[in-house]
């Protein structure tokens, strides 16, 4: 009884009940309290985790180009739990990007962006871009070689934009080169601007969710009808509405706990990312790779035909972003259920297949020379034994002239060119000589950098590379002559 009086005293002054009724307690359709509807809140939980760990990291991290890398090392090795918070922040960002993507896919597949929730989608797209911005600027905060050259790639991309490209490069780098002002700029973006925007747009996003109501679980054969949707939704809430808190929140809470546990587990098991080498451009023994969210983009740049690159980067990417924003205005009404929207499902599957294939390719980067393969990857023993002195010299030429950086033997070595293990079954000696001297098919011409003896030796070695029992390659003219 006394407790109740106290509660009333506070309630009279704080007026929490109406706030609850308009926010956490708002009615949602019972069907929407589904496991499919947990990804948005999970993304938000990741963001909160990022804020908390980010503030902690900022207590130690030095956002200055000359000391940032040292402070990362300090976090990793000296600061109590420093490595763990770095790891949580890193894995939290990975989870956040992943969950946000899943959330977007779910919203798209469930048709939740349709009338009257167009702006919820638009704001969501803004949040998507902000989060990717946070991911990229966060990668720069890990101010190591990857960050340095990642910025270089960013600057090069902007440098391709016509007319204003160079101004943009200066604007983003804060000067003519990647240096002190660049890091400070990205720190400002990562710590103030982008999180501020995310908070702002999350508030707008949530307000729109409250005002337009959570999307009702899609039912096949029940299309959105612009004239009647509002009444139908109201009727649905009347009929089976439950307050989001406490009745509809259970799955969100459980999934949120799972997500946090997942982040913590990944952090404990796999640890923080890097830092690798210090951001010193004169250390050129480096193989820059972006974090996973940008691997697919990284792959696109390697795989596009060179002449289309600027077009795709400068024009097609922005068009794709605009298209993303435009989805709810192009398809405002109609069926929501994925089983009645085969085009949408196929589109999603295609985009996800493309993106994950590209990311996988980006991870393995078969187009990149293996810079150390020529001195690191041994010639398979079976290709050494029983070879003539000339062929052994040829194998040494193959290694010494960095052929191995792009060509593998028995699958080991660069992947850019074809594996040479069976080259003698594919090319005749004449063809080999021509290919080596003139190059072609994306291979440099070695004519100026191989002496005749080296070519002879190399071809003698390559001529021994074929599976047992396989005949030597022969061209048509030779076959005729032999017959």
């Amino acid at each position: 009884m006394k407790l109740k009086t106290l509660g009333d005293w506070f309630e009279k002054r704080l007026q929490l009940e109406p706030l609850y009724r308009n926010s956490a307690g708002h009615a949602i359709p019972r069907s929407s309290a589904s496991w499919w509807y947990v990804f948005g809140s999970a993304t938000l939980i990741c963001f909160v985790l990022q804020i908390v760990t980010g503030i902690c990291l900022a207590l130690v991290y030095v956002p200055a180009a000359d000391e940032a890398w040292n402070s990362l090392e300090y976090l990793n090795y000296q600061q109590t739990f420093g490595w763990f918070l770095r790891a949580v922040h890193y894995w939290g960002s990975n989870f956040m990007v992943a969950l946000m993507t899943i959330h977007m896919l779910q919203v798209f597949l469930f048709g939740a962006y349709k009338y009257p929730r167009e702006f919820t989608w638009v704001i969501g797209c803004v949040l998507f871009l902000c989060t990717l911005g946070l991911a990229f600027t966060g990668q720069v905060m890990r101010f190591d070689q990857d960050a340095y050259w990642g910025l270089g790639i960013g600057a090069s991309i902007m440098g391709r934009i016509p007319f204003i490209g160079n101004d943009l490069v200066y604007l983003v780098l804060g000067g003519p080169i990647i240096a002190g002002e660049t890091l400070s700029r990205f720190f400002g973006l990562h710590v103030f601007v982008l999180p501020g925007l995310v908070i702002l747009f999350v508030v707008v996003h949530l307000r729109l969710v409250l005002k337009t109501g959570i999307n009702d679980y899609p039912i096949a054969g029940k299309p959105v009808d612009l004239d009647h949707y509002d009444e139908e939704y109201e009727a649905l809430i009347e009929k089976e509405g439950i307050p989001f808190f406490p009745d509809g929140v259970d799955k969100d809470v459980i999934f949120g706990a799972l997500v946090i546990s997942g982040v913590l587990a990944c952090a404990a098991l796999f640890g923080p990312a890097g830092p690798n080498g210090p951001p010193n451009p004169t250390l050129i023994d480096t193989v820059p790779r972006p974090d996973f969210y940008f691997l697919s983009l990284f792959a696109v740049f390697a795989l596009l035909p060179a002449y289309t690159e600027t077009f795709v980067i400068v024009y097609l990417l922005p068009v794709a972003v605009v298209a993303l924003f435009a989805i709810p205005f192009v398809s405002r009404a109609g069926e929501k259920h994925p089983s009645r929207r085969p085009g949408a499902v196929v589109g999603v599957l295609m985009i996800m297949t493309i993106l994950s294939t590209l990311a996988y390719l980006g991870l393995s980067s078969p187009w990149s020379p293996h810079m150390d393969a020529w001195t690191r990857d041994p010639v398979p023993v079976a290709m050494v034994k029983g070879r003539s002195p000339l062929a052994l010299q040829g194998a040494a030429v193959l290694q010494g002239k960095q052929c191995r950086n792009c060509h593998s033997l028995d699958g080991i070595g660069g992947q850019r060119g074809p594996d040479l293990s069976d080259v003698a079954a594919r090319l005749t000696n004449d063809q080999l000589i021509r290919q080596v001297l003139q190059g072609g098919g994306n291979m440099p011409a070695y004519g100026h950098n191989l002496s005749p003896s080296e070519v002879t030796a190399l071809v003698a070695f390559l001529g021994t590379l074929k599976p047992a029992g396989e005949p030597d390659a022969a061209n048509a003219a030779q076959r005729v002559l032999i017959q």
Partner: protein
Amino acid sequence: MSDPETGSETGSEAGSESGNEAVPGSGQRLPPSVPPVTRRSFLFRLGIGLNAIAASLMAVPIIGYVISATFQKRAMQAWIPLGEIDQFPERETRLAKYRNPFTVPWDGTTADIPCWVRRIDGQRFQIFAINCAHLGCPVRWFPQSGLFMCPCHGGVYYEDGSVASGPPPRGLYEYEYQIKNGALWVRGGQTPTLSEPV
């Protein structure tokens, strides 16, 4: 929509229209015709105007501050010594480093800029930027095969900087150089990109 906004912008028509659509009955709160310029509405407009002036006064320095990098630091080129030419053997290509002249004290190692110096013979040089013309990654020189290779997307260049294979849209960026009193000088200062190739 708050009342002052509707009142200040378009007056009663817009106000009653939006009122009819959004909150039935709210139009009654607004006067039915053009409101007379009262003391209150005048002061309100005056306030808006003063704030607009204040905002633009604030915006000029803020925007100028943020974008100053684009107009202040343009054409950042300077002659920088790379050392005696004798340290570059003829017919070889060597890595050289210089301190970027446009630097702040906290740049640390980021202002140490590498470049590839090819001494063709005698007084003839070529100085290449480290950055691949494709997307700016650091190219590495392999004297044995006479090629520059890029670790990112597999751009390959011949020893004179021309494209050998891969995606680069042009040869390696080349700095200007001069020889003064037996020392090699390079004209550098900014990261080369396609829109400003050195």
